[in-house]
Amino acid sequence: MAPSTCEGSLAEFEGELEQLTQALPRRINADPERVEQGLAKLVLTLIELLRRLLEKQALRRIEAGSLTSEEIERMGVTFLRLEQKMAELRAHFGLEAEDLNLDLGPLGELL
């Protein structure tokens, strides 16, 4: 039953597993602050999903050569600003980037 692998990589697997699993969820209580943070998490996760989808679209169009350099610059600046705004919002709610954990299964391939 003990996991079998070579000694050296146990710690590394541990690290990856911590990333993947929810570990012991911190979310248990229902006090108002937590609920607010939970809502923020959901909303920001949705925004992050949209941001990624839009960015992917933009990259496709750049590759297809269907944008002028002004358009590319403008879009890029917008995405930069959006990313900065997201970081501010996350910080406001005490969330890390990893907290907006999107496990979309097969949809993940869209991103």
């Binding site: 996991p3 000694e7 993947l20 929810q22 570990a23 809502l39 999903l49 299964g105």
Partner: protein
């Protein structure tokens, strides 16, 4: 740090994480009466995946129709 002490702790930790992943996230989903009311709050934390499941599915889960 002695190698076996290290690996003992890491092994235990890994076993725990693997167990958590299965016991919390996998296995048969039964819409228990009590878990639904807890799940209403949980929904907020689980994210987009649950939102994407249709209202139909959610209703069926509630009635225990889906495995």
């Amino acid at each position: 740090m002695p190698a076996d002490l290290d690996s003992g702790v890491a092994e235990d930790r890994i076993t725990l994480l693997e167990t958590l992943d299965r016991v919390l996230n996998k296995g048969v989903v039964i819409a228990g009466d009590v878990t639904i009311s807890v799940a209403d709050v949980d929904l907020i934390f689980v994210g987009l995946r649950l939102l994407l499941s249709s209202v139909e599915t959610a209703r069926d889960l509630r009635l225990g129709r889906e495995l």
